[in-house]
């Protein structure tokens, strides 16, 4: 409701030319040097960070873990047991644990870049990175299915549901193909990208709107109230974003695990 009020307060100002609401262009940051942009630096930084941290955590591999190793094992064990083993089953899950573990940390760290001061930009609000990961997950689960059932076996396995026969198949097969092969990577990528994009856009909106109302617009009581509320909303949305950033990493990983599980499942 507050957001709605704020939008009506801001809208006339935007048309009046005083305040320019943030848009997709705000995500198109100028290159730092040459062709290198901020998200590029961040994604490389995330990989270095993740490897350094997880290596430091796992290096000793002690039977009685220290604090650092315990933290690492908590995350690794969570992905390994709660996501990979519970979805895929104890027979095949170990093959996919490295991928799922890396995927979870990669998405998690890049999402939380959106909240870390000075970095403050979620890498996956640039759709290209999300497409890349979704494509990898798509290759992984389809590849796993073909490895398990053979190419034609897998296509049959994934498009023909058990217990269905006759002319209905003419309807079912294209639908299953669409939902299992075509739509899955798209939703996987868009879910991550859109959440990060929208969340960051909201934060920019409340931060810039509050700043404008308090410091640039005429200091009427209405404007001051609106500006303060805008900053309050900034904190509220930040708290929500902290949750969303974790959830998106978790959901991306869990869905990949479930797609793999469906692909390598025994024939029904």
């Amino acid at each position: 409701m507050i957001a709605g009020n704020l939008a009506t307060t801001l809208a006339p100002m935007a048309s009046g030319g005083g305040f320019t609401p943030p848009g997709p262009a705000d995500f198109d940051l100028p290159p730092i040097f040459g062709e290198v942009t901020k998200p590029m630096v961040m994604i490389v930084l995330s990989a270095v960070l993740i490897f350094a941290l997880t290596y430091a955590m796992s290096r000793r591999a002690a039977v009685v873990p220290g604090r650092l190793q315990f933290a690492g094992e908590f995350v690794y064990g969570g992905v390994r047991n709660s996501i990979a083993r519970d979805s895929i089953g104890s027979e095949h899950f170990m093959k996919f644990v490295p991928y799922l573990f890396t995927l979870f940390l990669f998405v998690l760290v890049n999402n939380y870049f959106g909240m870390i001061p000075l970095v403050q930009f979620p890498t996956f609000s640039h759709s290209g990175y999300a497409y890349g990961l979704a494509a990898l997950s798509w290759l992984l689960y389809n590849g796993a299915g073909m490895w398990k059932h053979g190419v034609w076996g897998y296509i049959k396995h994934t498009t023909v549901p058990g217990g269905v026969g006759g002319p209905v198949l003419a309807l079912i097969i294209p639908l299953e193909f669409l939902s299992n092969i075509v739509v899955r990577p798209v939703t996987l990528a868009l879910r991550l990208f859109a959440n990060m994009f929208a969340g960051h856009l909201l934060l920019i909106l409340f931060a810039l709107g509050g700043e404008y109302l308090l410091f640039e617009a005429s200091s009427s009581l209405m404007n001051i109230f609106g500006g303060v509320m805008s900053f309050v909303m900034f904190f509220a949305v930040s708290a929500l974003e902290l949750l969303v950033m974790f959830l998106q990493a978790y959901v991306f990983t869990l869905l990949t695990a479930m797609y793999v599980a469906g692909a390598v499942a025994e024939d029904h």
């Binding site: 320019t20 198109d28 039977v63 873990p65 094992e73 991928y99 290209g128």
Partner: protein, 179 residues
Amino acid sequence: MRDSIQAAEELNPLIPHLSEIILGTAVFLVLLFAVAKFVVPNFERAFAERTKAIEGGLEAAETKQAAADAKLAELEQQLAEARHEAARIREEAREQGAQIIAEMRQQAQTEADRIVGAGKAQIEAERQQAVTSLRAEVGTLATSLAGRIVGESLADDERSARVVDRFLADLESLEGTSR
């Protein structure tokens, strides 16, 4: 930022930069390789060693438990044997005691009977002797007494013997009725 509205019309965030897809994928694959090669095996090693340590500990504890159980069973067996032995010995002792008491009682009885028999025989002999001497003396005394009372000597031996015998017979019959 000022020109973002104009720029937004040209910029669709859904359309990616190809360079970003390639870079993101490449960085992820490098990270995946590094994690799979250097991190995951370490975590797995730690897990496996922990499992082994716990299982080893459990196994050792089970062995010790089994040994302790065996020892306990052995001791209980020994204890039961000892109890049994003790009960047997006690029973034997009781039997022997009873036997000894019976024998002693038998001996004592025999001895007592013997002593009583000897005493009786002696008493009988002495009584017999007393009776004999009494009879002789009583005859003499009574005759002399009667002679004094009657005032004349019962010179007639035959008559006096008759009197004495009658007296004694009366005495004996008196004794017999009083007994």
